[in-house]
Symmetry: none
Subunit: 217 residues, 4 copies
């Protein structure tokens, strides 16, 4: 599943140069956007000459694909680490959300880079989301079989949960600094656990929405 056409560099020096370019591209694509980022921006950021780019990549698009695929892989690894060993599905959801927000906070450009790919290489863009959705749906299906999770189409459920995470990350990690992420996390998990319908007998004015118990940043 190698989606670009240039072979891996033969020498260790080449490996390093290539890596520098990928990292530079992540920063530059995130900052300026794909179209506005020039190859020259990237090579300057990487500290190599312009022509060096074409030693490693056939064109700008290939580099974006590599960056997006790489970001996806890293995020998947981080999520796997966060939920490793847990069996309670709602625990898993909570820790998955938390890990995603943390990753987003550390890589604030992630969204922009991934989203750019929609207009450059749609296959890459879809692959990104599918690479999360597929195992997610499988895990949800397993949890349904074990009776932990309501019987809904697992793929629909997976995309719905990803949508929640994505939008809350955008709104509260990327845009907002005003709000305690722990409260957002609690609210999201509560929604996911119980749905938005008020608990039975809840017609009378209840207490104010639960505020976060400070747990983590």
């Amino acid at each position: 599943m190698n989606h670009n056409s240039t072979p891996r560099p033969a020498t260790a020096r080449g490996q390093r140069t290539r890596q520098r370019l990928v990292e530079a591209a992540e920063a530059v694509f995130g900052r300026k956007g794909f179209e506005r980022a020039s190859i020259s921006d990237i090579t300057q950021q990487a500290g190599v000459a312009l022509g060096t780019f074409y030693v490693y990549f056939p064109d700008k698009q290939a580099l974006l694909v590599e960056v997006v695929d790489g970001l996806g892989a890293r995020l998947r690894a981080e999520l796997a680490r966060a939920i490793a060993g847990r069996t309670d599905r709602l625990e898993v959801e909570r820790e998955g959300f938390r890990a995603f927000f943390a990753f987003t906070a550390r890589h604030r450009l992630l969204y922009r880079v991934v989203r750019q790919s929609e207009f450059v290489d749609e296959a890459c863009f879809r692959r990104y989301y599918r690479s999360f959705a597929a195992p997610y749906a499988r895990a949800l299906a397993a949890a349904q079989r074990s009776g932990q999770v309501r019987r809904l189409d697992p793929e629909v459920l997976a995309y719905a949960l990803m949508g929640i995470t994505d939008f809350l990350g955008m709104r509260y990690v990327l845009w907002g600094r005003k709000r305690d992420m722990a409260a957002v996390l609690d609210a999201a998990v509560e929604l996911v656990r119980h749905g938005m319908a008020a608990p039975a007998g809840g017609g009378r004015p209840g207490p104010a929405p639960r505020r976060a118990r400070r747990r983590t940043a």
Copy 2:
């Protein structure tokens, strides 16, 4: 630089020309994407000379902003029409989802246009989502006060619900033709209503995920 340098046209003829440009831009941006669409593409589509563009807009970006704002206004109007007169909050959610999917299906290209704006005029992009989130959160808060909706931070709830809709629209309206939207709608509403936790006593292998009762396309 000057955000108000092009005044509204003084004559009816000017109004018409301007409108032609906006409509042409919707088509061209949707078809080619913002960056790949040239001013010349737009003026050709509109049937006017290249220079005419600059009579009405300072640059391509200004036109994108106008298109995105207009699109948001139309979608908001459609949503308002869809839920008009309904009082049951979960009915409102269902009809809102349905209307959103229908709108998306009719303007599949414009989904892309909105997303492109993130890299062109981020304020416009955020404004787009906020213009939905703000009234959404207010409506949810009202439904909480009337005891229909669980007490969660209304804005968080609004963004979570928008995330669900957005991702399901992307996955099943834009990408997938394979699946019956009614089933997706049902699953989403069920999730929203009850959450994902299995109903009490649901340990035994239940029936397969519910398939949609055919209602709408």
Copy 3:
């Protein structure tokens, strides 16, 4: 000697509009330079519509010519007023210098407008300077005949004196605010009167350069 081709407007309203355009052009040409000033800049400054320009002038160049000719005429009139009735040639020089500096201070854009014409209509540019030089040279020749002025080619003398005035105006009226113009005037007149050779017997360190007796700005 009408150097442009459009006839005078027939109505009083037309006269006024035309005059507004000339005045606007003076300001705009001075501020932005001829090439960077657009017809639209001028008509906006004048408060008329774009098309109105072509009612009165065949093109931008004709307007510059009119502005330059007009400025020359006004300056000549002012100089004539300043020296009227004086017979002592050095008095005349002093008052001429003074009037020029005063005019320049009031019309700081004069230089820029006149100088622009060199690249637009060289005939106009030369005419500007010749219209000063010719009577100047005649007056100097007369003063030579009456024994007031050293016998040098009067035209050379005229251009030399104009050069002095022009450069001192540029340096001290346009660029510099640090210096008292009266001192500059005194120094210029002293140079013109006696030349720069030190007075006989002036080998020893003389007094510091004469400072201006405050007379006028």
Copy 4:
């Protein structure tokens, strides 16, 4: 915006190309004027592709500045050569005038280039004149201390002398072919030496203005 965005070329080939562009610009700016000269004119004259221009200069303005600065440096060098070794101040003035006229005659078009800079980069324009005025004034001050020159503010004197040269150059080198430059030179030097006041006892009709003894072209 970035005034240093184009670094010096790294290779000898680059140096040569850059130099070719500067020389082409001198020719083209002189021939057509700054505004009427297009980048394409310059690159064609230099025999390189259009895009090559932007490898070495951020815009046309930067090239003009380079041309003007270079021109000033060359003229200063020529003046320095012309007066080297002379101690008599009036000899220095005469030789300076002569060198200036000769330079102007050889680079008649570049006179225009310098003047254009006023409307493109005023700092450059002022720098041009100041770079002559400052050492000129210092030299005059020294000559005053040694008793050769009348005590007048040296900077005023410098600008006055530059004005004389400039206007005589314009009138007799650029415009006029009718007159022998040696006569102009003589008259200028005589004015500078003695001033315009008639010598004592000069009331009677003297001889006609001295005609040039043929010395130089």
